[in-house]
Symmetry: C2
């Protein structure tokens, strides 16, 4: 798609906005160099693309700041448009003042995501690549980063375009049949079409299935900590959180907002959920708490069931009966407080022994959690769907494909088959942006931050 | 000064650190290009200074990010050293990961202010200019920005160096006398020396006096709002604050952390202090509140005395007797709630009539506040001292000058005069960095943020 769009010159802050050593303002559009040139101490009009120029931003004979300006000529920038970047001192006053100056000289403040939208409209990125930029910026774990950069690099798009092209080829053969409809010819071999549709169906099924993983990679893999009251659930959680924070702070000078209950294990984020203690009871109020706990268990990929080594272990294991079969499959049994019961005689295959108090056994616990998720399988570069919108369009594609397959099996005529095949193409095309609407675009890019 | 220093290669994040469209990492030192080259997808070793290169940061065959790299060759950068800037996507994961990669390849994380310290040590800036960078970054008002950029541009340094040079010339003549001390000659004309010392004394006095203004420009001009209980002090303050915020938010898309009680009037920040109501009373506890109020008044440059138009005005004016003569000079009398007493018969020269409730009269009030401070006088480009350290060194210089002048008037010999003149030179030199110590430098630059 390359429809016309408003290509006036836009500006925005691309960096964080607070006080910092340096801030970066980005200007994109046909008049970028011309307008910045009016307020810069050196003449930029004849400078080459990809060059850097030190000088002053001057307005009314007053120096606003000493800045470094980078020039990107048309077709050689991120947006595909002529682009100027101003690297200024990171005071809020200066950042606002320079924006104000640019606006007063006829540059418009960019809308959220407008740079990336322009890059898309100029064919620099397809839609799914453009969307992955937002994911990339928000990625907090190695895994989320990995899937985002894979999408940015076009891995996902390439796969979809390949599938779509196969379908387009058949669709045009069917269209051809329609032109000759009175002659009852079949240009599109029905067996081959059936094979293709089934092949597409199974490939799209794999992509749809990957979303479950993609979604947890993006948002953190939920882990519920269950156990009777006072078995040390909060102590364990705090211990894991503190270890994680210590690792992060090893990269000196880098800051990370603490995410209350997220723990990074081997590059993946796990969202730990502390729950109310569970035990057999007839008390109504307590049962409500247990219901909530079971709800947490249902939504988790992993359940850590914590057992107190100093109490009767069998009794505590009995509580697991409260959980559904499905939930029981997710359980890792962890025996805590082994410092209080050092002669414990129990299988260490089935149970992990830890002492949250004495910080013993947490490494093994983390390894077990990681192995449990089977995340290593990710490393073979399978395509993972992470975006809710893509997921929904894939489901719609699948639904159309199923109808087409059914129709084909029932000997439906080409003109009717064509409807569902075209719908499949439409939904697939919406993902990569080969098909698009203004509403869709403003919906996607409106969620971006300003400056991107 | 240009003593040796550790010129190993350093790196740090130069932008805000949070999630943003773009983040900027800065690398400075002899091995900058060599090391970045190891993890970049293109060969940077033969690229020109001030050029920009798009490519990938790659480690273990994995793409970490698509980045834009800018190269500054030795003697052509801010620090004076070979410098590389990496502009990456602003995810916290990517920022930390690239820093980690650089550190693993032998680049050290920069200390706070280390870039600016290197710029100073390489003679790119003098000390007072280097210090002004921290002020520039923190400047929140037009006025604070103006003085900071004036200092960065070297206005203050030039003035000091000129004064110091004059003194050095005399000092060397006196030194010469000491070499010929047995011959009782006077190379340094005592009348001229006396004139010079007095001239210096008066110029330094002006600079010292300017600090009072410089300090309030930097930190906001304190304004106390006084008045009897319930005259509408808080309502007025909220009204002024909201108007200010509305103005700020006019520059769409720019954010500014709200500073609880700071209001910008014509480019200057005023710090408004709401106080407990004052009235004549014998109550001990209430008197304590009044004492605090008077304390606020003492520390303010301006006192807004708020009067309730619907109450007896003379009674309220009587309360002003509580204030010292000094404080009475700072008063702007403001009559509030004129909506409740529209037929009020009172001089509008001496009083400003407002209705905080109906938002009437606030423009006039702000004009009066601004005129009161005589800040317009600033526009004639006088040098303003804004830095506490400079202020203290100027006071020490002055004290030495006074002793020298006294000694001169008492016919003190050259060798004794020389001591105080050298001390004056020492303190002046500490400001611009012509004299310096490692302690001084780590003290100054340690207060900078990392990345500057």
């Amino acid at each position: 798609m390359n429809n016309n769009y408003n290509s006036d010159t836009i500006c925005a802050l691309a960096t964080g906005g607070g006080i910092s050593a340096i801030a970066l303002l980005r200007i994109s559009g046909d008049r970028s160099i011309e307008i910045v040139n009016k307020v810069f101490s050196k003449n930029l009009t004849k400078k080459e693309s990809h060059t850097v120029h030190f000088g002053n931003i001057i307005i009314d004979n007053k120096i606003i700041d000493e800045v470094v300006i980078t020039i990107f000529k048309k077709n050689q920038s991120f947006t595909g448009e002529e682009t100027v970047e101003i690297s200024c001192h990171g005071s809020k006053y200066i950042q606002n003042k320079i924006l104000e100056i640019l606006i007063n000289n006829g540059i418009r403040l960019a809308n959220p995501g407008e740079y990336t939208m322009r890059a898309f409209k100029n064919g620099k990125l397809d839609l799914s690549q453009a969307e992955s930029i937002a994911d990339l910026i928000e990625s907090e774990s190695e895994a989320a980063h990995k899937t985002a950069i894979q999408h940015l690099r076009g891995g996902f798009s390439k796969k979809l375009k390949l599938l779509r092209q196969k379908l387009i080829d058949f669709a045009s053969l069917i269209e051809l049949e329609l032109d000759f409809s009175e002659e009852d010819v079949e240009f599109a071999n029905r067996n081959q079409l059936n094979n293709l549709l089934n092949e597409l169906k199974s490939e799209i099924n794999v992509l749809i299935d990957s979303f479950k993983l993609g979604n947890v990679i993006k948002n953190g893999i939920p882990v519920a900590i269950l156990g009777a009251p006072n078995v040390g659930k909060s102590t364990l959680l705090n211990l894991l959180l503190n270890e994680d924070k210590a690792i992060v702070s090893d990269i000196a000078g880098t800051t990370r907002d603490s995410i209350e209950d997220e723990i990074n294990i081997k590059g993946y984020n796990f969202r730990f959920i502390d729950t109310a203690g569970i035990r057999k009871t007839d008390d109504t109020i307590e049962n409500l708490g247990i219901e909530k706990t079971i709800n947490h268990a249902d939504k988790s990929n992993i359940i850590i069931y914590l057992i107190d080594a100093s109490q009767n272990i069998d009794n505590q294991l009995d509580n697991l009966e409260n959980l559904s079969k499905e939930n029981q499959k997710k359980i890792i049994k962890v025996i805590n407080k082994i410092d209080l019961n050092k002669n414990l005689d129990i299988s260490t295959n089935e149970h992990i022994l830890i002492s949250a108090k004495e910080n013993f056994g947490t490494d093994e616990l983390k390894n077990r959690i990681f192995d449990f998720t089977n995340l290593n399988a990710l490393d073979n570069n399978n395509t993972i769907v992470t975006n809710q919108r893509h997921y929904e369009q894939l489901k719609k594609t699948l639904s159309e494909l199923k109808i087409a397959i059914e129709g084909l099996n029932n000997g439906l005529s080409g003109d009717l088959l064509a409807i569902n095949i075209k719908q499949s193409l439409f939904h697939l095309g919406l993902i990569t942006g080969e098909v698009t609407t203004d509403d869709l675009l403003s919906n996607i890019f409106g969620k971006f931050c300003i400056g991107k």
